[in-house]
């Protein structure tokens, strides 16, 4: 009887502490995590609009976050053409990663933040990219 009366206050404290800790982590993630996403000032790439008519987007710059699906083509001087699965769409999007950005290893399945420009022919060129 005596032993059961001593352990009850101790468990309650532990549970309360754990809840507080989770609360702190969540709040930290909210306030500090968002601030980690690059190109936040650039508008999100409009996947559906692009797929419907890309000419209206020509000359614009967007940020796009997605996973690398495949490397389609490669040229030593012009760079690499890859397909990316956007974070908010199932449609793969082709992005040209110029050669000067080639220092970054790009592999299938890696998630990147891209700053893309819509050029002639509606072709997306990565102006910058950041591994997520």
């Amino acid at each position: 009887m005596a032993r059961r009366a001593r352990s009850a206050p101790k468990t309650g404290w532990l549970l309360a502490g754990l809840f507080l800790l989770l609360l702190l982590i969540g709040a930290g993630g909210y306030f500090f995590g968002s601030s980690g996403t690059p190109y936040r000032a650039t508008p999100e790439f409009p996947v559906e609009e692009y797929l419907a008519t890309s000419t209206t987007l020509r000359g614009n710059t967007y940020r796009l976050t997605g996973s690398v699906l495949n490397s389609i083509a490669w040229s030593s001087d012009q760079g690499r053409l890859i397909s990316v699965q956007p974070q908010n769409s199932d449609s793969p999007i082709p992005i040209v990663v110029p050669a000067h950005l080639g220092e970054t290893n790009i592999q299938k399945g890696q998630k990147f933040h891209f700053l893309v420009e819509v050029r002639d022919g509606g072709v997306l060129y990565a102006a910058e990219l950041t591994k997520s």
Partner: protein, 637 residues
């Protein structure tokens, strides 16, 4: 002997009744050619034609003539007669058959009327028989002649005999008168001869003077007196002699003319096969002209023919003998017919009766032949004639039927000859039909026509002819229609319809190389299309709608007009492969507009949906090169 008699009969029939009335026989076929068949009769060696058919070839010689009319010449080797440049089959021609049938079908009343006539003729013949001949019987027989002539069956021939007998008697009386006149003239001639002789003698009472000059003058005077006395007697003698010579000639001429007229009548009667009339006439002749001169005075040519055929000199007696022989022969023939009928041997009975009828049509044995027996022979003869007609017109079906019927009727009927003809015609006709059928299959119109014509000529009523012709024409029609349909479908580009009926079109174009080549290409394409369809359906059945669409899409690019491909392609595009096709189509549209980036995105989406897609991969590779010129595929997709 019968052949010789028949030959004489034929000769008579023509000579007596004239060319227009010669209706005993007729050409057995219209194919008879006058210039081809004229066997020699005069030679006695029958230049027999090589066959018994009319129109067969023979030695071209002229028949003998009587009074400028050609005489028919019988060829006993093949029962044929040459006359008027044609060959006549005695017992196998339409006119003879018709006449024989008419005889067989004579009504009972006609037979009864014939019996009354036969009774009178028999009475006349009995009165004139060798044992009964007398002036009284001769007169009695002469009186019965008009009675016999009153029967229509006699055809007034007894009247002709009576007239001839009367004429002969008158001629004989004329000769008797001439003989009496000649006797008187003879007496006159003798008297004038006597007077002439007496006038020629000098008178014994008056002597000549002694003076030489006076004596010469006296002799001259006497000579003048003697001549004056003789002159009337000598002139009358000359006249009497001339009258005697003229009367003798007149008498001889009158007798000869009477003989010739009588003989001509007898010969005519013989040639008309009126044998009893020949006997009656010859017996009257012998009683009138009883000087033993019975020689028939025919022309040398006819006399020669007569003697060569009968092998006896042409006399009234030999004519009598031949007529008697003919009567006997007919009688025996009829007896043979009766015997054959008892044995149901109708074919032989029919032939024997036909022969006897040909010789003794007017004899009582033939005319009184029982009607029931005639009907039996008529039934057989009619069928036999129908058989001949059926064979003539090449109706072999009917001929075979008649052969079977004849076999049942007549025990002695030999079916081998007609059946052989029927079977031969059938075989040859079938052979031609088979050739015609092959020609039709091979498209040989010329041979087809020739063989069909040959088959038709051999057996016009061949039931197979109509069937085969119908099949050939139907086949030809179908073939033509198939070609027209093929041309139409080719023009419409409906290759699938052509493919569905490929067997028909392959057969139809077998003889048309140009069409055959086009058809071959079409069928090869359709084979390819059908293969693609088959593959697409199999892939679809495995649940791979995208793969099925891609398979059929490849075929549709090559064959965009094929309805089946388009239908399956549409079904897949709107069904299981809708999103995949939509991605490809949108990629294609954007690519066409130069929006390569978005186009590539759609191709990538299609590839995402169906990674094995060839279409998507092709376009991805193509656009990758366009976006990154000189690039190479980075990795295997």
């Amino acid at each position: 002997m019968k052949a010789r008699i028949l030959a004489l009969l034929l000769l008579v029939a023509h000579a007596a009744s004239g060319q227009n009335n010669f209706n005993f026989i007729a050409p057995s076929s219209g194919e008879a050619k006058p210039e081809e068949s004229m066997p020699s009769a005069e030679a006695g060696e029958e230049a027999a034609p090589t066959s018994g058919q009319a129109g067969s070839t023979g030695k071209k010689t002229s028949n003998p003539t009587i009074g400028g009319i050609e005489i028919p010449v019988f060829d006993p080797a093949n029962d044929s007669v040459t006359w008027n440049g044609q060959l006549w089959q005695v017992d196998n021609n339409r006119v003879f058959r018709a006449r024989f049938e008419k005889y067989l079908n004579a009504p009972a009343t006609e037979i009864e009327a014939q019996a009354a006539y036969d009774k009178v003729v028999s009475r006349i013949m009995n009165l004139l028989a060798a044992g009964n001949i007398s002036n009284r019987n001769l007169d009695e027989a002469f009186r019965l002649l008009p009675q016999a002539a009153s029967h229509s069956e006699d055809a007034n021939l007894c009247d002709a005999i009576a007239n001839q007998v009367l004429g002969a008697w008158q001629s004989k009386r004329q000769v008797a008168r001439l003989d009496a006149a000649n006797q008187s003239l003879e007496d006159d001639r003798k008297r004038h001869e006597w007077n002439t002789r007496l006038s020629a003698q000098n008178s014994a009472l008056d002597n000549a003077p002694k003076d030489t000059v006076a004596a010469a003058e006296w002799a001259k005077q006497r000579e003048l007196e003697r001549t004056a006395r003789m002159q009337p007697h000598a002139q009358r003698l000359t006249e009497v002699n001339a009258l005697l010579t003229a009367n003798r000639a007149k008498s001889e001429l009158s007798a000869l003319q009477a003989r010739i007229e009588f003989q001509t009548l007898l010969v005519q009667l013989f040639f008309q096969r009126r044998f009893r009339h020949v006997l009656i006439g010859s017996r009257f002749y012998r009683s009138i002209f009883d000087d033993g001169d019975n020689q028939i005075r025919l022309g040398e040519e006819s006399k020669s023919l007569f003697s060569k055929i009968s092998e006896i000199p042409p006399t009234v007696t030999s004519l009598d003998a031949l007529a008697s022989e003919a009567i006997r022969d007919v009688r025996e023939g009829v007896e043979a017919v009766e015997f054959l009928l008892q044995k149901d041997e109708l074919q032989s009975a029919s032939q024997r009766l036909g022969e006897s009828f040909a010789v003794g049509e007017h004899l009582p044995e033939i005319q009184q032949f029982p009607r029931a027996d005639r009907q039996r022979i008529l039934e057989f003869t009619r069928r036999a004639n129908q058989l001949l007609s059926a064979l003539e017109v090449k109706d072999y079906t009917r001929a075979e039927q008649l052969v079977n019927e004849l076999q049942e009727t007549a025990k002695d009927f030999d079916p081998s000859q007609p059946l052989t003809a029927v079977q031969t015609a059938r075989n040859v006709s079938r052979m031609h039909l088979a050739r015609a059928r092959n020609a039709a299959l091979g498209g040989d119109a010329e041979t087809l026509e020739r063989e069909l014509r040959a088959a038709t000529e051999i057996w016009p009523n061949n039931p197979d002819l109509a069937n085969v012709s119908g099949q050939i024409f139907e086949q030809t029609d179908v073939q033509q229609q198939a070609l027209l349909e093929l041309d139409r479908l080719m023009e419409q580009g409906d290759h699938r319809a052509i493919f569905r009926q490929n067997a028909k079109f392959i057969a139809a174009t077998a003889l048309h190389p140009d069409r055959q080549e086009k058809l071959g290409k079409i069928l090869a394409q359709m084979g390819e299309i059908e293969g693609a369809l088959q593959r697409a359906r199999e892939i679809q059945q495995r649940g791979d709608a995208f793969g099925a669409w891609e398979s059929i899409q490849i075929a549709s690019v090559k064959y965009p007009e094929d309805t089946e491909i388009n239908r399956l392609r549409a079904d897949l595009a709107s069904g299981g492969a809708a999103t995949f096709v939509q991605s490809l189509n949108k990629g294609g549209d954007l690519e066409a507009r130069g929006e390569y980036g978005a186009a590539l995105a759609w191709y990538l989406d299609a590839h995402r949906q169906y990674p094995p897609s060839q279409f998507a991969q092709e376009r991805i590779d193509a656009l990758a090169v366009r976006i990154l010129p000189g690039s190479s595929p980075a990795t295997a997709q």
